[in-house]
């Protein structure tokens, strides 16, 4: 057995004080297998050691929450005995190193988190951040990530219904690939991961174990340096076909009464799944690693335990149910093996070739993993940018520039590579405020969105955290759906730096405030830290994935204008907030200023108003105002319908502020003239500012004496991404 040297400890990402604790727990020097297990279980990725203290402050309960954070995914009740299971998770580090497989296995992993709990996945989403378009790697990374997400999601037959994509130079060395899955379960047939029943069989099924992905979790817990590409062998390889079989086999098995507990093998593979199951059940486990289905000969205990081969599951069966389970796995041609039993020892004992290769106490490892209260400094507040200090460009010229800038340009090139219609329930396809997916066989539907504005979070993580949640709330409400709960994917730099830790703390505080005030609890999530390359951190990116419920799918609203001659109504106030706006960045080349503040009490009132108006059938189209401001929102409503609009700007604020200010808490509504008095009255009753700003009609958008045809706008909007990506593909 090799001796544990300081170099070996360091190469496992274990800090000296953590090693001291390992010695205390073990009462002896660990062997290499044991050290490897400590290393992955105590990695940032698996243990949340830097963020745990702050994550605990997030609100996680509501009467409709069935299961909050801590399980494979969060679960909410949607009535009629049905539950929605969902979570978002990052696969940032592997996607930068090997974009196709990194992104593909990110989708595979999040799907497993959801169907492991007994849910059939019904929709995938993704939130992507890439580096500056001019960076030599960006094109290659976009092509690979999009192909990987499509390659996996399309094959498993779960629609990828939406998402968001941003470009910024801070992601040049660390792209973000955050994937979300939403599943539908029977509320009375949900599966958890806590093991139970001493003597019960521990069963492995799915794909075979190979040498791929060893130490992926440790890699995802460190900064990148110039040698990171040498880490390519730690990226796993996905097989969506096996995943599809695994989904069907799991759901078929779950309909029989055989499973005590089940968990997928995600980061840190067999180690974390077996440890977490035993730990949650307060039990011990003994595994004979010789029985693990293996893809290659001669794998050591260390390699078997730390492999991150994909499409594998671990479960505890009820006694005597092995044959039922085996028959289902045979039907789906998946590997199946009883590899151990639950014990009452509280220890994990691993045997290989008849020899004990590891013997560890479970509780100190899985539950008493390090928790840090890392020092942090609150970021300095950016000064407010005054509208009069921002130059005015003619509105239509500026609009065309904004519609074609990388962040706002149409993402059709991306979502057309994703099957967004399979399963036959996609009611609102990508391109709107939120995707709307019908609950199969009924009248209900869920609205799903992912949101975050990293430039706001960079300028003020606290306000940015509030805004990310509020925007998800708005996007959900804009379809008519009642926002129910969120999942978060917190992407930041190195938490050992006080200024980065300050971003984490402030963003979580802001998110918590918004979630509390909007009754929008966090039910699941994932943290990705160390998104830094050679000291350069990403913009703080706390991505929010949200789910809302529509009682009657027939009453959902889209962003597309419906007919000419209708009133265009703006809900909410417009002061022309220019700080941290896209206008300031794209037209003035200035990335500065405080982001627009979010007034949470008004946010909630406005959301309730919009949903009530939609439910009453008074709204023909609805779109929230976000990136780029009011004129961009109206242009998007026009472009998605082909119906133009003519707008009357007020005398104040100045026209460019009115058109492009990013004041929060606003919605644009299309209202039939007959319904207008009712809408304005309802707004007044709710104390929400509402004014008619124009009329639908024609084939052009006009404002402030300027005008552009919708086809012109579409060209500006649609051209950038295909042209950018078209310049690649020589060697892909």
């Amino acid at each position: 057995m090799s001796r544990i040297t300081p170099e070996i400890i360091a190469s496992h990402g274990i800090k000296p004080d953590e090693y001291t604790r390992i010695l205390e727990i073990m009462g002896r020097e660990p062997n290499l297998t044991e050290l490897g297990i400590f290393s992955v279980m105590w990695s940032e990725h698996c243990s949340y050691k830097s963020s745990k203290k702050w994550l605990k402050t997030l609100p996680t309960t509501a009467p409709w929450v069935i299961c909050g954070p801590g399980e494979n995914a969060g679960i909410i009740d949607i009535g009629d005995g049905q539950a929605i299971v969902f979570k978002m998770e990052s696969h940032n580090h592997p996607s930068f190193i090997e974009p196709y497989q990194g992104a593909a296995t990110g989708v595979g992993g999040i799907l497993r988190d959801v169907f492991t709990m007994g849910a059939r996945p019904i929709a995938n989403m993704n939130a992507l951040r890439f580096g500056d378009p001019s960076h030599p790697k960006t094109r290659h990374l976009v092509a690979g990530v999009v192909a990987g997400i499509g390659g996996y999601g399309n094959c498993v037959g779960v629609p990828t219904v939406g998402g968001e994509t941003n470009f910024h130079k801070s992601y040049n060395g660390n792209i973000l690939v955050n994937a979300m899955t939403v599943g539908l379960a029977d509320a009375s047939n949900i599966f958890y991961s806590a093991a139970a029943g001493i003597g019960n069989p521990v069963v492995y099924f799915g794909s075979k174990t190979g040498r791929d992905g060893i130490h992926g979790a440790t890699m995802a817990s460190a900064e990148f340096d110039e040698n990171s590409e040498e880490k390519r062998p730690t990226v796993q390889v996905g097989d969506p076909f096996t995943e599809k079989l695994l989904i069907e086999a799991c759901l078929e098995l779950m309909a029989t009464d055989t499973i005590v507990a089940i968990q997928d093998m995600g980061a840190a593979g067999l180690t974390s799944s077996s440890f977490e199951m035993a730990s949650k059940g307060g039990l011990g486990v003994e595994l004979d690693l010789d029985l693990v289905p293996m893809r290659e000969d001669g794998m050591s205990a260390y390699e078997i335990m730390l492999s991150e081969s994909q499409e594998r599951m671990l479960m505890i069966l009820k006694p005597g149910k092995e044959d039922v389970a085996r028959a289902i796995m045979d039907k789906w041609e998946l590997d199946f093996a009883v590899i151990g039993t639950l014990t009452d020892t509280g220890r994990m004992v691993l045997k290989r070739h008849g020899k004990v290769e590891a013997d560890l106490p479970i509780d100190p490892l899985a539950q008493a993993s390090p928790e840090y209260d890392r020092p942090w400094t609150a970021p300095a507040k950016a000064p407010v940018v005054r509208l009069e200090d921002v130059p005015a460009h003619p509105p239509i010229d500026a609009l065309k520039r904004l519609l074609g800038c990388p962040d706002l340009a149409s993402k059709r090139w991306i979502y057309q590579q994703y099957d967004h219609m399979v399963m036959g329930d996609t009611v609102q396809r990508p391109g709107g405020d939120a995707a709307v997916v019908r609950i199969h066989g009924g009248r209900k539907a869920v609205a799903i969105t992912t949101d975050c504005t990293p430039r706001y979070c960079q300028a003020d993580p606290h306000e940015g955290g509030r805004q990310a949640v509020a925007e998800a709330y708005r996007n959900t409400s804009a379809t008519g759906a009642t926002p129910l709960a969120v999942t978060d994917n917190l992407n930041f730099g190195n938490p050992e730096k006080p200024e980065i830790m300050g971003q984490i703390v402030e963003a979580i505080k802001g998110m918590g405030e918004a979630c509390r005030d909007l009754d929008f609890p966090v039910v699941s999530g994932n943290v990705s830290l160390y998104n830094e390359t050679q000291g350069q951190a990403i913009q703080p990116t706390p991505a929010i994935g949200a789910v809302g419920l529509l009682a009657d799918v027939g009453k959902h609203t889209t962003i597309a204008f419906k007919t000419a001659g209708n009133a265009i109504v703006l809900l909410g106030e417009c002061k022309g907030w220019m700080g941290a706006s896209l206008y300031l960045r794209e037209l003035c080349g200035r990335e500065e200023g405080a982001p627009p503040p979010v007034a949470l009490h008004r946010e909630r009132r406005k959301g309730e108003l919009v949903r009530a108006l939609i439910a009453d059938g008074l709204v023909r189209a609805c779109h929230d105002v976000s990136d780029g401001g009011l004129l961009v929102a109206v242009a998007e409503m026009a472009m998605s319908s082909g119906i133009g609009a003519s707008l009357d700007a007020p005398s104040s604020p100045a026209l460019h502020g009115w058109c492009f200010g990013e004041d929060q808490g606003r919605y644009v509504l299309e209202v039939h003239p007959d319904d207008l008095p009712g809408v304005l009255e309802a707004a007044l009753a709710k104390d929400v500012g509402a004014r008619v700003i124009g009329t639908t009609g024609g084939h052009a958008l006009s404002v402030g004496g300027q005008s552009a045809g919708i086809d012109d706008l579409r060209t500006a909007h649609e051209a950038w991404l295909p042209a950018f990506m078209g310049a690649e593909m020589s060697g892909h």
């Binding site: 399309n154 094959c155 599809k244 041609e333 994703y418 219609m421 399979v422 399963m423 036959g424 799918v553």
Partner: protein
């Protein structure tokens, strides 16, 4: 009408087409597992879309050799109506029930979007409710839909009226701009020589309900129900 939907490991549009069939038939179709060697007595067999056997080796190639396909082939040769959608079309070409091959799309990418198609022939059991020249909207979702056959066969197929659908503009013009994948002659769907087998890349089952954005596809299932009931 009685219908069966073949389910391979990796099929993923089997439920979607079953839903569309049920809406038109008023009864659920039979779902037949790929390892079954016997096919019940049915009027219509649907080979659905998806990624049978992961599309490993070549799209449809492995499914074409599965036990149930021997039976499907025998039935097709005996005159039973067979509908292959997307991966199902690929499988039918691999079994030899339909001519040609489906190659990688011309731009090498998976494409998912609505396309407009011109109905080339309304004189079959699949298309009774359409009129030749009609433009219908169905979605596509494939990476290998670039149909090709050698020129002699293509000419014969055209002469026989075996072209079922062509990709066309909204006004019915068949041109390059309407062709999403590079297929020969903008072909989107074809019949066999006896017109009892139809294979097409677009998915009629995905636009068979107004709530989902359109119902042009429903007419195909309604046509089959009327013809075979």
């Amino acid at each position: 009408m009685k219908a069966a939907v073949i389910v391979f490991p990796g099929s993923n549009c089997d439920r979607d087409v079953a839903v569309a069939l049920e809406a038109s038939m008023g009864a659920k179709p039979l779902m037949v597992w790929h390892r079954d060697t016997e096919l019940p007595a049915v009027d219509l067999v649907v080979v659905p879309g998806g990624f049978s056997y992961g599309d490993y080796l070549r799209c449809g190639a492995m499914a074409a050799h599965s036990p149930i396909m021997r039976e499907v082939k025998a039935r097709a040769e005996a005159g039973t109506r067979v509908l292959g959608i997307c991966n199902g079309f690929q499988i039918l070409t691999e079994t030899g029930l339909l001519p040609g091959v489906l190659m990688r799309n011309k731009d090498l990418k998976f494409i998912c979007k609505d396309v407009t198609l011109r109905v080339e022939s309304d004189r079959t059991d699949f298309c009774r409710y359409y009129r030749s020249g009609d433009v219908v909207r169905f979605p596509i979702a494939h990476a290998e839909g670039n149909w090709f056959v050698e020129p002699k066969t293509y000419r014969e197929m055209e002469d026989n009226g075996q072209i079922a659908f062509r990709y066309a503009t909204a006004s019915g013009k068949v041109d390059e701009s309407a062709n999403p994948n590079g297929s020969l002659g903008n072909v989107a769907g074809i019949y066999n020589g006896h017109f009892n087998v139809l294979g097409l890349m677009p998915h009629p089952e995905r636009l068979a309900e107004d709530l989902l954005g359109g119902a042009d596809g429903k007419l195909m299932f309604d046509s089959l129900v009327e013809a075979l009931s």
